[in-house]
């Protein structure tokens, strides 16, 4: 079964949440009634001194975090239907309060504010501040909320709820709950998770047959808790047969895990490769095709990244769209900067590649300091749109982060677009003509200066586009460019100057090699080893992986 089919689009989430807020009180009620019989004696005893729901909610506003945790504890035993709303808002940081006595407690939902207790509309009320929550409180709340989420219409939510049950340990009561839910569950993924949860629960059973069956059941599960439970049995259980059965189960799980880990590594490598590809691809044009050793390439990437920041500052309401706006904007801005550099400096230096190195090195210093002066030396905060964050979890041991996935796809798209430009357009034809024989191209009527400016602009623009992508992974600050410049040169040289395919292959293979070395050698040594391999490789093939062949290249 294709795991991808199980994924629900993330965009529906907000809508679903809204719906959920309407439904939740019902579950809350159901929940408390379920557990009521056991708790009745103690609850009844405490009833006398117990403050009302309203008082408790108002208590949330003040006091220390520890007090708040106690209040939450007290609240959780309350059976008020407003409870779920309050908890959900509190955990999401949407529960607000002011400093009045007693305080006004409000729930924020987007722009709308409602009174948590009366449900009255409070939109526009001033001086409301968020009620702070810390980790332990949040964990506590999540546990409460998870129980309520088991009947959530969103598959992801239900799955997460079951996951949390597994993590927190399944007891008789939750097991009953899960069993009941299993009957109505329609998602296979959640079904599997419930089966695992129940099997983990059954492992603790007294009946040996049930335990063996549970072990058998768990041998197909990739859940970490399942493995931990099995490991516990394999190591400590008194029963030898159970021990060996558990050990066997673990082994079969491990072999599957190592396969997925390999897939994960492969993806990590390709993703690192795509970052290298993006960083290097502009250079493959300016350096590879035009022969300009552009040390300011990194700074062009930086300008692209700053453009993303600029777009987000200019259109604070369009964060979701900011990247899509930033791509063309960054392309245009960096292309213009690139053309300015070409017209202002580089055109005087054609045929003297080593001197372009010096001049562009100077330019890179100027650009860096310019950014420091204009935007301050501090890093800028670029936020990630909702659709690019989070993970695509294929199974419990293999999940792929969206950012990386999109960047990989984006890198390839940029690459193939560039390929098309170079191979299929007249500009591409002229670029190749000029790069191979400037005088001849001019003789057949190509305006070489125009082509030079456009080519450099193209390479720079692509660097800017790379900057947009990198802004989602790393710091946006004046030093951004320097972090990538050397790697970029390595990629281009390794792939073979003047060969775009070479750049692609070299970026991907460097990414993969680096990633497969890293677990064994450590991040630092892996990089050193890759560099040494690169140096040795260049000795063997001085013109890179895909050298330009033929008579022209001989000199």
């Amino acid at each position: 079964m294709n795991p991808l089919c199980r994924i629900t689009p993330r965009h529906t989430l907000p809508a679903v949440l809204l719906w959920l807020t309407c439904l939740l009180p019902l579950h809350a009620n159901a929940q408390t009634t379920d557990s009521a019989p056991e708790e009745t004696p103690s609850t009844a005893a405490a009833e006398a001194q117990q403050p009302t729901f309203e008082q408790l909610v108002q208590q949330l506003a003040g006091g220390s975090l520890r007090d708040r945790a106690a209040t939450v504890n007290q609240l959780s035993s309350q059976s008020d239907e407003r409870l779920a709303d309050v908890f959900n808002a509190l955990v999401a940081g949407d529960l607000l309060a002011n400093k009045d006595k007693p305080p006004v407690i409000a729930i924020r939902d987007g722009e709308r504010l409602t009174d948590a207790l009366s449900g009255a509309d409070l939109t526009g009320t001033q001086r409301l501040r968020r009620i702070p929550v810390n980790n332990s409180l949040r964990t506590q709340l999540r546990g409460q909320v998870a129980q309520l989420n088991l009947n959530h219409p969103n598959t992801d939510k239900r799955y997460a709820a079951v996951e949390r049950f597994i993590r927190d340990g399944v007891d008789d009561e939750t097991a009953a709950l899960l069993r009941a839910h299993q009957q109505v569950e329609d998602s296979g993924r959640v079904q599997d998770a419930i089966t695992t949860a129940l099997a983990v629960y059954q492992l603790q059973s007294d009946d040996r047959a049930i335990r063996l069956a549970a072990i058998d059941e768990l041998s197909g599960s990739l859940e970490q808790e399942a493995r931990n439970a099995l490991r516990g049995i394999a190591e400590n259980d008194a029963d030898a047969e159970l021990r060996s059965a558990a050990a066997e189960a673990i082994e079969s799980i491990q072999s599957r895990i190592s396969f997925y880990r390999f897939v994960e590594n492969l993806f990590f490598g390709l993703s690192l490769g795509s970052v290298l590809l993006l960083a290097a691809i502009g250079l493959a044009i300016t350096f590879g095709v035009m022969g300009v050793i552009n040390m300011a390439h990194g700074e062009l990437i930086m300008i692209g990244a700053y453009t993303t920041w600029g777009v987000q500052v200019l259109f604070p309401d369009l964060i979701e769209w900011s990247l899509l706006i930033a791509v063309p904007a960054a392309f245009l801005i960096t292309a213009l900067v690139g053309i300015a550099i070409e017209r202002g400096v580089i055109r005087f230096l054609y045929g003297r590649p080593l001197e372009t190195l010096l001049a562009t090195f100077g330019l890179s210093l100027v650009l860096q300091q310019a950014v420091r002066t204009l935007f301050s030396p501090l890093n800028r905060s670029v936020s990630s749109p909702e659709w690019i964050s989070g993970t695509l979890s294929i199974n419990p041991v293999l999940s792929i982060t969206y950012t990386r996935l999109y960047i990989l796809i984006f890198g390839l798209m940029v690459f193939f677009a560039l390929m098309l430009v170079m191979k299929r357009t007249t500009l591409g034809l002229k670029v190749r003509a000029v790069s191979q024989n400037r005088a001849m191209a001019r003789a057949v009527g190509v305006r070489s200066s125009w082509v030079d400016a456009l080519t450099f602009g193209l390479g720079s623009g692509v660097a800017g586009v790379a900057g947009v992508a990198l802004s989602q992974l790393t710091n946006v600050g004046p030093n951004l460019g320097q972090a990538y410049i050397i790697d970029s040169f390595m990629v281009v040289v390794f792939g073979g100057v003047g060969n775009l395919w070479g750049t692609l292959v070299s970026a991907m293979s460097l990414g993969l090699i680096n990633n497969f070395l890293e677990p064994y050698a450590g991040a630092m040594l892996a990089k050193v080893l890759v560099l040494i391999m690169l140096i040795l490789f260049i000795q063997k093939k001085p013109k890179g992986l895909f050298p330009q062949k033929g008579r022209a290249a001989a000199d």
């Binding site: 990590f268 030396p377 800028r380 905060s381 990386r404 004046p478 677990p519 450590g522 991040a523």
Partner: protein
């Protein structure tokens, strides 16, 4: 003809040279000069520029109050450009050419190490405002940042006792501060009964940007069912990609909290903090501390920079304390003579910004409160724990083999930076002095 030109050339060069020498030897005037030694360009500018501004602000404020000993204070700002040998050179310049009476500066350990011999040779005073690895004590240096026992150990205690953490990832950038801190923590954890298998140590290069593997590994390490936390000594630029990767791979603060020693308000202002909420940092100061001193400080800072959004952070507070201590000591000594001021420094008490009073100890470290804060989505910290009393800074760690018997005491009769309490001798270089 040619000869004439040669002579001209020589003449021109000579003039240039003499101008050069002249320009570099500026004469001292009737002010008290304060050297500010922070990188304004290069990789460290990102952190240090703010400290330069802080110093300028503090000096301006002091001058508004009438200066010091009836004289105006004059800041001398130089740019060591994130280049370590240049730090030593600039220090020499500040002390020899500009005759400054105190230097406030440095950020990285290596820059301090570079400055150290010069400041000792020329008998100057350096106020070092950043948390550091300890294992050092100099008569001429005052450490106003946190020593490991003022940051790392309380943070680990909090994780252990409050959050019940049993498995530990010590992740750091590969340089001396993380190395030393992690060694101290490792020894400390082991002494607290944590097994070897439950500690994972990982080092990465400066500016490391590809965290996929390491985060995946942390995730696996944290999946054994025991509560796991990451103690991060990851430096500066590498933090953003690290936290982003954590967020992307779905590691939330509830599952595996990260407590960082190098991530403050200023670093957070360059990050989208939404995925970071709940991760922690241990410092001696948070901008969110609700005290009148802090409010006044923040207001002055906003006024000085003309930017309502500028944040304050722990090293700024360290400079604030250090500067006020120096002012007090100079007033106490009645002179800016280095030896007298150094002697007057020990025991000076000034209020810090978190509502307490910091004291300069005989080992040239200060007493500080230790605060643990959780990152909020507005880039501020929510204090979740703070020590009841101020913690005195410890120059030599009690948990390291080489230094557990060492103490530092710059008052008579010991007057030694690395005094061995067992052999009752002053070891190493300072033995001769």
């Amino acid at each position: 003809m040619k000869l004439k030109n040669l002579v001209k050339k020589a003449g021109a060069l000579g003039v240039a040279c003499s101008m050069a020498l002249g320009a570099l030897s500026v004469q001292a005037e009737e002010t008290i000069k304060v050297g500010v030694l922070h990188s304004l360009s290069g990789t460290m500018a990102i952190s240090e520029t703010t400290l330069k501004d802080t110093m300028l602000m503090l000096i301006e404020e002091q001058n508004k109050k009438g200066g010091l000993l009836g004289k105006k204070l004059e800041p001398v700002v130089v740019d060591p450009a994130s280049n370590w040998p240049l730090f030593a050179e600039r220090t020499r310049e500040l002390l020899e050419q500009h005759h400054v009476d105190a230097i406030f500066g440095c950020w990285t350990s290596v820059s301090r190490k570079s400055v150290l011999p010069v400041i000792e040779e020329l008998n100057g005073m350096l106020f070092y405002p950043v948390q550091y690895e300890g294992e050092e004590s100099s008569r001429n240096v005052f450490y106003t940042g946190a020593a490991p026992n003022q940051q790392a150990i309380p943070a680990v205690d909090y994780l252990k006792d409050e959050l019940g953490v049993e498995r530990w990832v010590l992740a750091g950038t590969d340089y001396v501060y993380p190395r030393t801190t992690n060694r101290i923590l490792e020894a400390y954890l082991k002494s607290a009964g944590v097994a070897e298998d439950d500690i994972m140590i990982n080092y990465t290069p400066f500016g490391h940007s590809d965290w996929q593997n390491i985060v995946a590994e942390i995730k696996r390490f944290g999946s054994t069912g025991k509560k796991t936390a990451v103690v991060s000594t990851i430096n500066g630029d590498a933090n953003v990609p690290f936290y982003r990767e954590l967020g992307n791979q779905g590691v939330s603060a509830e599952d595996i909290p990260v407590v960082a020693f190098s991530v403050g308000e200023e670093e957070l202002s360059g990050i989208d903090t939404t995925p970071l909420v709940g991760h922690m940092a241990a410092w001696n100061y948070f901008m969110s501390e609700d005290t009148p001193e802090n409010e006044a400080f923040i207001n002055t800072w906003h006024e000085f920079t003309g930017d309502e959004k500028r944040v304050t952070n722990d090293p700024m507070e360290a400079h604030y304390i250090g500067f006020n201590m120096w002012v007090k000591a100079v007033e106490k000594a009645g002179t800016t003579d280095t030896d007298k001021v150094i002697d007057a420094m020990v025991g000076v008490e000034v209020p810090n910004l978190t509502g307490g009073t910091s004291t300069m100890l005989p080992n040239h470290h200060i007493t500080k409160p230790v605060l643990i804060g959780e990152i909020q989505d507005d880039g501020q910290f929510l204090t979740v724990s703070s020590t009841d009393e101020l913690v005195p800074g410890d120059a030599w760690s009690d948990y390291l083999e080489g230094s557990k018997d060492l103490i530092s005491d710059w008052t008579a009769p010991i007057s030694c930076g690395n005094y061995n309490t067992k052999t009752k001798t002053c070891v190493g270089a300072q033995a001769e002095e």
